[in-house]
C-alpha cells in the first residue's frame, strides 16, 4: 500500500526535469537530415484580387521549392468546423498576411530574402474593418450578410419588465484584440513518405484537429496521417486551430520536395499572421427595482471574427452563455452575433468569449449600483445566483454554492472595506489616486451543451510489460500540467505511487482521441475517463487474482504476468453523457455545462495623474474549482491567468492599420513583466463536487475572466470617471479623464 493519496498532493511535474535542464525537445530543437526550411509569402492588402505573381529575375532561385494552391492534392481548405478558410489563397485575398505562396530551401537565411523577392500585384477591393461596417452590409465579404453565426437566449417575458422597473440602466462596453503571446512561436516539421503518408511534428494543442485537417487537404486516408506533439512552449488557445494551417503548409512543401520541411515562425510573423482574442462590443439594457434587484434585461454581444469563420461560432456561444454572469435573471434576452471583417481570423484564447462578455457584465453591475445608490458589494450580493435558481439558459444550480460567503471572504482577504474608506479620504490632494474594484463571475467547464456528447472522447490506460502504467490520451501538455494531473488520477485509481505511472507522448498513431486540450476540460472530463480506464485495468487484474489492497510490487507482478500471457493489458473508456442532462441546441436552453467554477476577484489600483499610468498594487483571487488536484499547479494556473488578465486590462493593445497589426513585436506589444505585477494572492474554496475525477472542475480559463473588470472598476473608483473599454494604456486613461473634464466644464 502506498502511504498517502496522490490526488491533492503537489507531486513533481512529469516533464519538469527536462524543462529545468534544457533537455526538453521543442519543435525547433528537432532536426532531420536533409531537412529544408519553409517560408510563407503573404498578402499585403486586406482584400483584393491577385493579378500577378512575379519573381525577381536577379535572385538565384536554384534549389527553391514552390507551392501554390494548384499543388493541393485534396480540398483547399483548413477543415475545422466549416471549410471556408483556404490553406493558400487562390485568386483572392480576404485579409492581410493571408498565405499565398510557399517556398522551401536548405538555407534559412536565403529563404528570408526570397520571400522579399516575390512580388504580388493586387486589384484592391474595399475592405471591411469595423464591426459596424460589417453589420451595415455595404460590402458583402462573407456569406450573404457578413454573419458567421447568431445565437438567441430567451428566458421569460422581457417586454413586461420595463414598465415595472424603477431604474433602466444602459451601457456599452468594448474589449480589444489580445495576442496569446506564448513564448515559443508556432512551428512544425512535416515528413512525407509515399508508403506511410504524412507525419507532422509540431507545437500544438489538438493533434486530432491537425489530423482531420491533413486528411482533407492532402486527400489522404486516416491511417496515412500521423500527428505528434513536440514539447510545446505555451499555447493559451493560440495553438488550438492555427497549427492546422502551418502543418498544411509544411506538408505541401514536403510532398512536393520529397524532403522533410520545417517551418518556424519568427515573432513578427507569429504576431501579425496568427489568431488573437476576438474584439467585442456588448450592450446592456437592464430593468432594476429600487431594492437593487435585477428584474430582467437585454444583452447584445457582438464579436469580430475576422475574415474566416474558424472557431468564432463556438467563441460566440461561450460568450453569450456567460453574458449574464453569476446573477439571477428572472427574464433576459441575449443576442449574440459573430461578424466577418477583413482582419486575420480571430481565434481561441483562454476564456474563449467569456472574458469579453463578463467584462461587460461586471462593469455594468457597478453602473447599476451607482444608478440605484448601492455599493458594488451590495448590488452583487442582492443578485447572486443561489442553489435552486436558474441561469440565463434555465440551467438549475444544483450545487450548494454561497457566493455571498465567498464575497465576504474576499473582502476580508483584500481588506476591502478599510481600503475603500482610506482611499476616499486620501485621494484628495496629490496626483496619485487609489481605487479598489470587484469582479464576481463563473466559468463553465468542458464543452458547451451537447459538445462533449459529440466529441465522445476516448482514453486508454495501459499496463506495460515492465509492470508500470501508461496513460494513453491525445490531451497535450503545454504548461498547465496535463501530464502530471492525468498521471496522478491514474495512480490514485490504481492505488499506485505516482512514479509508477507515465503518460504517452501525444501521437495519433499511438493514442486514442481524448478530444482537444481546450475549454478547461482536461482535468474534469479527460480525468474522469482516465479514472474509468484505470478502474478497467484493476478489474481485469482482479479477475486474475489481484484483490483488495495490493502492494505496488504485487501489482507489477500481476501486470507483467498478464502482458506475458495475453500480449498486452489495455483498458479504454469512452465519454458517457450523464443521464437526465437536457440541452436544446436550437433554443439554447438547458444544461449549458456540467458544472461551473465560481470566483470573486478584487483588484487594488493606483493611477498616477502625472503619467496617467495605472498599476495594480494588490490582487486577491478567490475561487471554487471543485477539488484541487495539485495545489501548486492550480495556484500556478490562477496566477498565470490573472497576469494575462492584467495584461488584457492595462498593457496589451493591438494597433491595427488597414487590417494589419502594426506592433507585432515584443518591444511594442507589451505584456506584463515581473516588475509590473502586484502580489497575486490565490485562495481556493473547496466544496464536495460530483463532477470530474475526484471532484475536479475546470480551472484553466476561469482566471482570465475576472481581472479586467475588477481593474476597470477599481480605476473608476480611483478617478470617478467611467472606463468601459479596454485596454487602458496611459493614453486611454488620459483621453477618458480629459473628455470627462471637458464635459464637466460645458
Amino acid at each position: 500500500m502506498k502511504e498517502e493519496q496522490v490526488v491533492g498532493q503537489s507531486v513533481p511535474r512529469k516533464e519538469g526535469h527536462g524543462k529545468v535542464t534544457g533537455a526538453a525537445r521543442y519543435i525547433d530543437d528537432i532536426s532531420i537530415p536533409g531537412m529544408l526550411y519553409g517560408a510563407t509569402v503573404r498578402s499585403q492588402v486586406p482584400r483584393g484580387v491577385i493579378k500577378k505573381i512575379s519573381f525577381d529575375e536577379h535572385f538565384d532561385w536554384a534549389e527553391f521549392v514552390f507551392v501554390t494552391a494548384k499543388d493541393i492534392p485534396g480540398k483547399n481548405c483548413i477543415a475545422l468546423i466549416g471549410d471556408d478558410q483556404p490553406c493558400l489563397a487562390d485568386g483572392v485575398v480576404n485579409h492581410p498576411e493571408e498565405p499565398i505562396l510557399l517556398l522551401a530551401h536548405p538555407n534559412r537565411h536565403k529563404l528570408r530574402k526570397a520571400v522579399e523577392a516575390v512580388w504580388i500585384e493586387y486589384e484592391p477591393l474595399p475592405a471591411v474593418l469595423t464591426m459596424e461596417e460589417s453589420e451595415q452590409c455595404s460590402q458583402i465579404i462573407w456569406g450573404s450578410d457578413n454573419t458567421f453565426k447568431t445565437f438567441l437566449i430567451a428566458k421569460g417575458d422581457v417586454e413586461s419588465v420595463w414598465g415595472k422597473a424603477d431604474y433602466i440602466v444602459e451601457g456599452e462596453y468594448t474589449t480589444g484584440a489580445q495576442e496569446q503571446l506564448y513564448i515559443e512561436n508556432n512551428g512544425v516539421i512535416a515528413v512525407f513518405d509515399s508508403e506511410q503518408g504524412i507525419t507532422i511534428w509540431g507545437s500544438l494543442q489538438c493533434p486530432y484537429y491537425v489530423h482531420k485537417a491533413m486528411m482533407a487537404l492532402l486527400n489522404l486516408p486516416a491511417e496515412k496521417v500521423r500527428v505528434v506533439q513536440a514539447e510545446t512552449g505555451g499555447a493559451f488557445g493560440g495553438k488550438e486551430d492555427y497549427p492546422s494551417i502551418i502543418a498544411g503548409h509544411a506538408a505541401l512543401l514536403a510532398m512536393k520536395s520529397r524532403r522533410p520541411v520545417k517551418i518556424i515562425y519568427d515573432r513578427m510573423e507569429d504576431m501579425t499572421a496568427t489568431t488573437k482574442r476576438h474584439p467585442s462590443r456588448t450592450r446592456h439594457r437592464t430593468a432594476v427595482s429600487k431594492e437593487g434587484k435585477i428584474l430582467g434585461g437585454e444583452i447584445e454581444f457582438t464579436i469580430d471574427g475576422g475574415a474566416y469563420a474558424t472557431l468564432s461560432s463556438v467563441v460566440l456561444s461561450r460568450g453569450v452563455i456567460h453574458a449574464g454572469g453569476s446573477y439571477y435573471w428572472p427574464c433576459v434576452r441575449i443576442r449574440g452575433k459573430a461578424v466577418a471583417t477583413n482582419y486575420p481570423p480571430h481565434g481561441a484564447f483562454r476564456g474563449f468569449g467569456a472574458p469579453q462578455s463578463l467584462f461587460a457584465m461586471e462593469r455594468h453591475m457597478d453602473r447599476i449600483a451607482q444608478a440605484v445608490g448601492l455599493s458594488p458589494v451590495e448590488i452583487r450580493r442582492r443578485n447572486f445566483l443561489k442553489p435552486g435558481e436558474t441561469t440565463t439558459t434555465e440551467q438549475v444550480i444544483r450545487e450548494e454554492i454561497d457566493l455571498g460567503k465567498f464575497l465576504e471572504r474576499a473582502l476580508v482577504l483584500s481588506d476591502y472595506r478599510a481600503k475603500k474608506l482610506r482611499f476616499t479620504h486620501e485621494n484628495g490632494g496629490g496626483p496619485v489616486k487609489k481605487g479598489i474594484g470587484i469582479a464576481a463571475f463563473l466559468h463553465g467547464a468542458g464543452f458547451t451543451g451537447s459538445g462533449e456528447r459529440y466529441l465522445a472522447s476516448v482514453v486508454g490506460v495501459e499496463g506495460c510489460a515492465d509492470g508500470t502504467v501508461r496513460v494513453l490520451a491525445s490531451s497535450t501538455e503545454f504548461g498547465q500540467g496535463t501530464n502530471t494531473v492525468l498521471c496522478q488520477i491514474a495512480a490514485e485509481a490504481l492505488n499506485l505511487p505516482y512514479k509508477y505511472v507515465q503518460i504517452a507522448q501525444p501521437d495519433t498513431n499511438q493514442v486514442p482521441n481524448s478530444g482537444p486540450t481546450v475549454a478547461s476540460r482536461t482535468a474534469m472530463v479527460v480525468g474522469s475517463l482516465v479514472r474509468s480506464a484505470a478502474i478497467g485495468i484493476r478489474q481485469t487484474l482482479a479477475a486474475e487474482g489481484l484483490h483488495g489492497s495490493y502492494t505496488p510490487e504485487e501489482f507489477k507482478v500481476a501486470c507483467r504476468r498478464h502482458v506475458a500471457e495475453h500480449g498486452e493489458l489495455r483498458s479504454y473508456a469512452r465519454y458517457d453523457p450523464p443521464a437526465g442532462v437536457f440541452w436544446d441546441d436550437q433554443k439554447y436552453r438547458g444544461e449549458a455545462y456540467a458544472c461551473f467554477a465560481w470566483a470573486i476577484y478584487i483588484a487594488e489600483v493606483e493611477v498616477d495623474l502625472s503619467t496617467y499610468a495605472a498599476t495594480v498594487e494588490d490582487f486577491v483571487a478567490l475561487q471554487e474549482v471543485g477539488r484541487v488536484l495539485h495545489p501548486i499547479l492550480a495556484k500556478g494556473q490562477i496566477a498565470g491567468g490573472v497576469a494575462q488578465g492584467i495584461g488584457f486590462a492595462l498593457y496589451e493593445k493591438v494597433v491595427w492599420q488597414n487590417g494589419r497589426m502594426q506592433n507585432g513585436q515584443m518591444t511594442n506589444y507589451i505584456m506584463p513583466t515581473s516588475a509590473d505585477l502586484p502580489p497575486i494572492r490565490v485562495f481556493f474554496e473547496e466544496m464536495g463536487n460530483i463532477h470530474g475525477a475526484y471532484g475536479a472542475k475546470g480551472i484553466g480559463e476561469l482566471p482570465m475572466d475576472g481581472p479586467a473588470p475588477a481593474i476597470a472598476n477599481a480605476i473608476e473608483d480611483a478617478l470617478g470617471v467611467r472606463f468601459d473599454s479596454i485596454p487602458l494604456l496611459p493614453e486611454d486613461i488620459f483621453e477618458a479623464v480629459s473628455n470627462s473634464e471637458l464635459s464637466e466644464t460645458r
Binding site: 503537489s10 513533481p12 511535474r13 516533464e15 519538469g16 526535469h17 527536462g18 524543462k19 529545468v20 535542464t21 534544457g22 533537455a23 526538453a24 525537445r25 521543442y26 525547433d28 530543437d29 525577381d56 536577379h58 538565384d60 530574402k113 522579399e116 523577392a117 503571446l181 506564448y182 513564448i183 515559443e184 512561436n185 514539447e231 510545446t232 512552449g233 505555451g234 499555447a235 493559451f236 519568427d266 515573432r267 504548461g479 498547465q480 500540467g481 501548486i632 499547479l633 495556484k635 500556478g636 496566477a639 498565470g640 491567468g641 490573472v642 497576469a643 494575462q644 513585436q665 515584443m666 518591444t667 505584456m671 513583466t673 515581473s674 516588475a675 505585477l677 502580489p679 497575486i680 490565490v682
Partner: protein
C-alpha cells in the same frame, strides 16, 4: 542586389562553453544564439523574440547575463559562456533548478532556461535577495505562464538553501 551580395567568409572562433574549449567556423555576424543551437547542438537556449526583449535566449558570458540573439559570433572569441546545459552536471539538479521544479517555477518551460540563468546571476550578486530585488532582477525575462509568483518563490527557496 538581392541574392548576389557578397557575404564575408566564415571565420574560426574559439571560446569556452560550459567549461569546455570549443572552436567553430561561423560567419562573423551570425547570432550567438544560432552558434549555440546549430553549431554546438546546445538547444537548451531558446529563441522567443529574436530582438532582446524576452530573455529566453539568456546565457552567461564572461560573468554577465546577455541575450544571445543580440551577440554576433565574432564578439564571443575568447569568451567564457555558461548555458543551461552547464548547470546540472549529471543527473543531480542544482538547488536553483530543484527549487524551480518544487515551487512550480516552470510551466511550459520555454522561458525556463533563461529564467534560471537570470536567477542564478541574481543570486550570485545578492545571495539573499528581497522580493523587490527579485522582481527587478528578473524583469528582463518574460514568462507568459506563471504570472511570476512561483518563480519568485523558487528563487526565495533556493536562496534559503531549502532545496540543497
Amino acid at each position: 542586389m538581392i541574392g548576389n551580395s557578397k557575404r564575408p567568409g566564415k571565420c574560426e572562433v574559439s571560446l569556452t562553453v560550459n567549461g569546455e574549449p570549443k572552436t567553430v567556423r561561423v560567419y562573423p555576424m551570425e547570432r550567438l544564439l544560432d552558434v549555440l543551437r546549430l553549431e554546438l547542438g546546445l538547444t537548451g537556449t531558446k529563441e522567443g523574440c529574436g530582438e532582446g526583449e524576452c530573455g529566453s535566449c539568456s546565457v552567461v558570458m564572461d560573468g554577465k547575463l546577455v541575450n544571445s540573439c543580440l551577440i554576433p559570433a565574432l564578439q564571443v572569441a575568447g569568451a567564457t559562456l555558461t548555458t543551461i546545459e552547464g548547470l546540472a552536471l549529471g543527473p543531480r539538479l542544482t538547488a536553483l533548478q530543484a527549487a524551480f521544479l518544487k515551487c512550480g517555477g516552470a510551466q511550459c518551460g520555454i522561458c525556463t532556461p533563461g529564467m534560471i540563468l537570470a536567477s542564478r546571476q541574481l543570486l550570485d550578486k545578492k545571495p539573499k535577495p528581497t522580493l523587490e530585488e527579485i522582481r527587478e532582477g528578473l524583469s528582463g525575462n518574460l514568462c507568459r505562464c506563471t504570472g511570476y509568483m512561483q518563480i519568485f518563490e523558487a528563487v526565495m527557496e533556493a536562496a534559503s538553501g531549502n532545496s540543497q
